[in-house]
């Protein structure tokens, strides 16, 4: 009786596993160019990895459908880091040693990105990170093989404070998430504040799985702050936004560039009204003038993504978009050679991407300027360019 | 005769309920001394107090010349007090021999580090432990069962293993908590033999038992407990004729 039930469970499990196994059929191709990617597709930062993976896949399919790079199809190999550093390092090694890829894009998170740098440097494989922290590409002397596409946190902090100064705001409360992203943001905020002459009157933190930040915000409410800056990615941004609204805090709320997803506005409901955030132009592509150098590219990406996945594109996917096309361009120019790809990337100038205009140099492996950010404001449930 | 254990005015409360109330008694060396009384009289509680398994509320217990009120059980074993349990507590996942070998723990010294590196004296000590454990097993007549899992033995033999384990600690005083419970007549007879043999080895036996014929048969001295208080004390004959004891046991067979 007991035995038979256990056998049934065992058999059904085997069946499930077998079904999945069969559905995988390998396809052979003519000298493909192998590009590796590691994103945090599952786990606590899956909202980053998901659009990144989708975008990378979409581009690979598109290029392959158009005949590949100089006739060579792209073979895109994607691994999931689950947001975990050990897995990131192992997956990087796997891409380099097992799959023998020409370049690696990702990971999604700053922590993972920093973790894989020693491996990347040692194996000498070009890597274009999709994570924010500026530490990933600095100092360049120790980051010879590492590039990154997202705007650095320091720009975000500076753009924010410059905007505030323009509005006469000098006393600011900051509230950050305690993970790699928030931590890096917090450091940049404190530094930029010093540089720009802004006083930080409160410095609060919260955990990535917290469901209520009222306590921290109550503390902030008791200060004489003229503005609040929240620095996080994911659902916590929405909760902070709602809590600020609920507590009846009237001073403006600034969010980091992690706010770059229209879903956030939708979920925060009315509370998001008036929220300010420096973000890449992807979210306001429709409202850019036609002559803007990014307009066509952004609109194309947005429409394609919507068509293929039925969801709004986010700036995170955009980082993967930029990384992919950079590698593709390099491959087109110099062919399958890791060192040559790196050299090509380092000297790439005037590359138009979703984040802005990239001008790499041996001293700058990010290549963006503050211009790549636009201060956006939520108005009537949409992002508009703030005045 | 020398006192080996003496309790003075010991008292135990469990959340306001008095289980043992101001009991004073002595156990003399080289005897079989029994503690009897109706169910719930506080016999096992006294055993737990003596062996350090539960702390006294008040009073004093001397073992030879030392006050042992606050000593932990393993220290008392080291001093020479061993015990068995009413409902037999064996390490069922270990073999019979291993069970008895655990009893040698307190008389051996090899620690974590010497065990890990298997220094030569570890082998020597281990051999001695095994030898002594086998001796105790044959003493209780179970040398043939040494390799079997303790949990698979019949109940009577499990009890014997427990006694062997207690003996392996080299005790001077052994406390047996209802050793005859659950045994048949034949087994009880063997047990009586065994207890006498233990005494003949020079080990004092302190016994809690319900089987009156066994108690009367082997005891040198008997103490009677009722509702946590000592009501009588003396040789088997005296006790059998004590009106207070008969009163306490009214309804129960003596």
């Amino acid at each position: 009786m007991r035995l038979s039930r256990r056998i049934v469970i065992l058999l059904s499990a085997c069946l499930i596993i077998a079904c999945f196994g069969i559905s995988r059929i390998a396809k052979a191709a003519n000298e493909p160019y192998k590009i590796g990617a590691i994103f945090s597709i599952t786990g606590p930062a899956s909202w980053l990895g998901e659009p990144e993976r989708n975008t990378a896949k979409m581009i690979a399919d598109k290029v392959n459908a158009a005949g590949g790079i100089n006739g060579h199809p792209i073979e895109l190999i994607i691994y999931d880091t689950e947001g975990d550093e050990t897995k990131s390092v192992l997956n990087t090694k796997k891409l380099i040693e097992k799959d023998n890829v020409l370049a690696i894009i990702g990971p999604s998170r700053s922590g993972s990105s920093l973790a894989i740098i020693p491996t990347i440097q040692e194996a000498q494989v070009p890597n274009i990170s999709c994570a924010a922290s500026i530490k990933i590409v600095q100092p360049v002397s120790e980051r010879k093989w590492v590039f990154k596409t997202p705007q650095p946190d320091s720009f975000c902090a500076e753009v924010m404070f410059e905007y505030m100064l323009g509005k006469g705001i000098t006393r600011v409360a900051i509230i950050t998430i305690s993970d790699g992203f928030g931590d890096s943001g917090r450091i940049e905020l404190l530094e930029a504040a010093k540089k720009k002459g802004i006083t930080i009157v409160a410095d609060e933190r919260y955990g990535g799985k917290d469901t209520d930040m009222t306590a921290q915000l109550t503390k902030i409410k008791g200060t004489d702050a003229q503005a609040i800056v929240n620095w996080s990615i994911g659902p916590t941004q929405v909760i902070v936004t709602k809590n600020v609204h609920q507590l009846g805090i009237k001073i403006p709320l600034f969010q980091s560039h992690g706010f770059g997803n229209t879903k956030n506005i939708e979920q925060a409901g009315g509370a998001a009204e008036g929220v300010l955030a420096p973000i890449g132009r992807l979210l306001v592509a429709e409202r850019l003038p036609d002559y803007h150098y990014q307009k066509k590219l952004l609109m194309d990406y947005k429409n394609e993504y919507m068509e293929k996945f039925g969801a709004e594109a986010s700036t995170f996917g955009g980082h993967a978009y930029d990384s992919m096309y950079m590698v593709i361009e390099a491959l087109k120019a110099v062919g399958p050679d890791r060192a040559k790809i790196r050299d090509y990337l380092e000297n790439m100038k005037g590359f138009v991407g979703t984040a802005g205009l990239f001008n790499f140099s041996p001293l700058d492996h990010n290549g963006l300027t503050k211009e790549s950010f636009e201060m956006l404001k939520v108005k009537d449930g949409m992002f508009v360019i703030a005045d | 005769m020398k006192k080996i254990l003496s309790a003075y005015n010991i008292r135990k409360e469990f959340g306001g309920l008095t289980a043992v109330d101001k009991v004073t008694f002595d156990v003399y060396e080289g005897r079989i001394q029994s503690l009897i009384g109706p169910n719930g009289a506080g016999k096992t509680t006294i055993f737990n107090l003596v062996t350090g398994f539960s702390p006294l509320t008040s009073g004093k217990i001397h073992f030879r010349d030392t006050i042992i009120n606050k000593k932990s059980p393993h220290k008392l074993v080291h001093m020479g007090i061993a015990r068995t349990f009413q409902n037999v507590l064996l390490f069922e996942n270990m073999t019979v021999l291993e069970n008895v070998m655990v009893g040698r723990h307190i008389r051996s010294r090899c620690g974590l580090i010497s065990s890990a590196f298997k220094f030569p004296w570890v082998f020597r000590e281990e051999r001695a432990i095994r030898h002594k454990a086998m001796e105790e097993l044959s003493f209780v007549g179970l040398e043939k069962r040494a390799g079997e899992k303790a949990g698979s033995l019949p109940f009577g033999e499990q009890r014997a293993v427990e006694v062997a384990r207690a003996l392996a600690t080299d005790p001077v005083l052994i406390l047996l908590d209802e050793p005859a419970a659950g045994l048949n007549t034949h087994e009880t007879q063997k047990l009586a033999q065994l207890i006498k043999q233990i005494r003949d080895r020079g080990i004092t036996v302190f016994l809690v038992e319900h089987d009156m014929s066994l108690v009367m048969d082997i005891s040198d001295h008997i103490m009677v407990l009722n509702y946590g208080e000592k009501i009588a004390e003396g040789g088997p004959r005296e006790i059998q004729n004590d009106p207070q004891v008969i009163g306490a046991y009214l309804g129960e067979e003596i």
Binding site: Y79, E97, K98, L114, K135, S178 | L90, C110, L112, A116
Partner: protein, 326 residues
């Protein structure tokens, strides 16, 4: 060591020597290095859980303490890595002692919660003490180890180093569990009251093995820090503790070899589950549950029982007792 242990040990030794010769690419060497770390922790955890019967849902904290002590001392105070590793052992052992003394008085689920809570507190400390630990972004450029002037800078060298450590640990641990101390631990697992009555100093032995298992985890942590050269708190959180316990239980916690096999399987399994993409988590969970339902004592013990069962079928021994876990 008895014949079974010697046999399995030789098998393991052979596998470790042969593996790098036939491995298709270097990547699998680094996977095996990580397997080595997990095996190391799981051996300690197995002695704690399987032998002494004490649960711990906070062992990732000890792993992290080892890693962070090495990381901090080597990068901030420029210690020699070996000295830092030793400091890690001392600090972790000390912390384990301090938390173990009150915690190990607790039983069952209460002990589980206490260790879980301790693990979380340490995890929060890693995040918050950013002046030391670099906070949530972690710390980079931890130096590599070198042994007798030979830098352990390739995966293969680190592989050899790791597995030598593991093999030595295995021998020591098997000696321990088959000794007077191991017997005492099993006794505690069986019945604490009976162990006390037999003269076993129960609290001291529990603490001792708790500290020892913490030290194993600390060594693994230090090695991890020097291998990956980057550490951040997220590698040492609650989920890591759970994974470690799962490894030990799935492998079979009543045997050191079970813990080793559990660590191997649960580290390597995700590599293969990868082909299932988004179904990976689901299949992983289902696999866990099925193993536990079918073989509650774990794979190794289950397999051993299976071998016994087959033997008894072949030789038609008189005792027809059903020893199989199913």
């Amino acid at each position: 060591m008895n014949i079974k242990n010697i046999f399995i040990f030789i098998l393991m030794l052979a596998a470790i020597v042969i593996f790098p010769l036939f491995v298709p690419n270097k990547y699998y060497i680094s996977v095996m290095v990580v397997v080595g770390f997990n095996v190391l922790i799981c051996i300690g955890l197995c002695m704690l859980m399987g032998y002494a019967g004490q649960i711990s849902l906070g062992h990732a904290a000890f792993y992290g303490l080892g890693a962070y002590t090495s990381g901090v001392l080597c990068t901030k105070y420029l210690f020699n890595p070996w000295l830092a590793m030793l400091c890690g052992i001392i600090i972790t052992g000390g912390v384990a002692y301090l938390i173990g003394v009150p915690s190990l008085k607790l039983k069952g689920h209460y002990l589980a919660m206490a260790t879980l809570g301790f693990g979380e507190i340490v995890f929060i400390a890693f995040n918050e003490l950013s002046f030391l630990t670099g906070g949530p972004s972690g710390m980079t450029s931890i130096p590599r180890l070198s042994l007798f002037g030979l830098a352990l800078n390739t995966d293969l060298r680190f592989y050899c180093f790791t597995w030598v450590v593991v093999l030595v640990t295995v021998i020591l641990s098997i000696n321990i569990v088959n000794s007077r101390v191991g017997r005492a631990l099993l006794a505690i697992h069986g019945s604490e009251r009976a162990a006390l009555a037999a003269g076993v100093n129960v609290p001291a032995h529990k603490i001792q093995i708790f500290v020892l298992s913490a030290i194993y985890a600390s060594i693994a942590g230090s090695m991890y820090a020097h291998f990956v050269t980057f550490i951040s708190p997220s590698s040492f959180g609650f989920m890591k503790s759970i994974t470690l316990v799962t490894m030990v239980v799935i492998g079979g916690m009543s045997d050191i070899w079970g813990a080793c096999i559990g660590a191997l399987i649960l580290t390597v399994l995700p590599e293969y589950l990868h082909v299932f993409h988004d179904y990976e988590i689901l299949i992983f969970g289902v696999t866990l549950m099925i193993i536990m339902i079918l073989m509650p004592k774990g794979l190794f013990v289950g397999a051993m029982d299976g071998i016994e069962w087959i033997k008894s079928k072949i030789f038609r021994k008189t005792n027809e007792k059903d020893t199989v876990g199913i």
